[in-house]
Symmetry: C2
DNA sequence: TGTACATCAGTGAACGCGCGTTCACTGATGTAC
DNA sequence: TGTACATCAGTGAACGCGCGTTCACTGATGTAC
């Protein structure tokens, strides 16, 4: 059992990234200290060498989940840069995104949970929502701030709804309808 | 202590309606059998004379929450009938609705929770989402099925986002922007 | 470079607590005569 | 209508369990000489 300082940093990293994945999949309440530590091959007692409390971990995991999903979204733009609004919407409102909760947009998975939470997690997500809206507005061109707000609202709502649907055809249809509407109503202008 | 059959029905009613209110406020996981029964002045043991399990109660409470919020929304239309799309959107995307989680739209509060739940609760909400979309489409006139889907997605997303925001001004701005956009882009046609 | 010691990452038993669920019991309700 | 009895709504103690958190301990790591 070698427990060097470098290993401690790696342990913390594994704890946070595992917790981040789990909250995206199953919500803020789904993480328990015991099962989380077991899933990264540590014992529950060690947890408090890394965090003051479960609540502190949740905030760190939320930050990580939001950062991860933002990074994934930006990385998808890498080949073609700058990313177009249409490409972004097509990826966001897709079957694969709907079906990968653990790897998908943390705002969509967790907005309702965070809306009921304390001020700290809400502030953390608030910043990410604002920067997501700014990013989308930027794709739509000058003075498109309002369109960015509307597009983000519709994308988050449609994704959440599509995850409720048990009828896959209907779920696909909703994603497709909102996707086509947004691209048609907002994406066209961007080409000018 | 009189425990007549009529009183049993009233007890069940109080349990479900209290649970429905609580899940709209704080999510599906927030209801515990003990505290719920205490809040309707009964003891926890009596719970199992009304429901087979906590899971069964959750499904009943979800149905009730959805029915209640639908009824509230339809009741608001009573004076002017049929309700206009613009009036509906103005009420949905308002500060008072955002601030009354316990009395507000159960789809918006619970979509993410239900999206992670078992098939039964998902089916229950699915029907309500479909009928909400149909209702909105109906307000928009013939062949407005797609617009209904988009409007419902945007309304649910915007409400969830507005509840995350700690900056009230920003929260209001998001509600206002989505509200104005929807009325402008979709509501105008309805007047023709 | 080699030894002696302090540090500290991680262990695992223990804590009090609230959870969902069960069950023997109580006593008013409802029914049969 | 009045009495005797069965029913059953609600009570509260008890169950096993998992939770978040604490703490005495272990032994490798890192440091001072």
């Amino acid at each position: 059992m070698g427990h060097s300082q470098a290993e401690k940093a790696l342990s913390r990293e594994r704890i946070i990234s595992q917790a981040a994945k789990q909250i995206r999949e199953s919500g803020l309440d789904s993480v328990s200290v015991g099962s989380l530590m077991k899933s990264v091959n540590l014992t529950h007692g060690g947890f408090y060498g890394h965090f003051e409390s479960r609540a502190e971990l949740i905030v760190e995991a939320l930050k990580r989940a939001l950062d991860d999903s933002q990074a994934t979204s930006k990385a998808a733009a890498a080949p073609a840069r700058p990313q177009t609004f249409a490409a972004m919407v097509r990826r966001y409102l897709s079957g694969p995104h709907r079906d990968s909760r653990g790897g998908g947009c943390a705002i969509a998975s967790l907005a309702a949970d965070v809306g009921r939470a304390d001020e700290l997690p809400r502030c953390v997500m608030e910043e990410h929502i604002n920067s997501f809206m700014t990013r989308i507005s930027g794709m739509l061109g000058e003075g498109a701030e309002d369109e960015g707000i509307v597009a983000v609202s519709a994308m988050i709502g449609a994704l959440a709804i599509s995850r409720v649907m048990t009828d896959t055809k209907r779920s696909d249809q909703i994603l497709r309808t909102v996707r086509d509407y947004l691209i048609d109503a907002m994406g066209e202008e961007e080409k000018k």
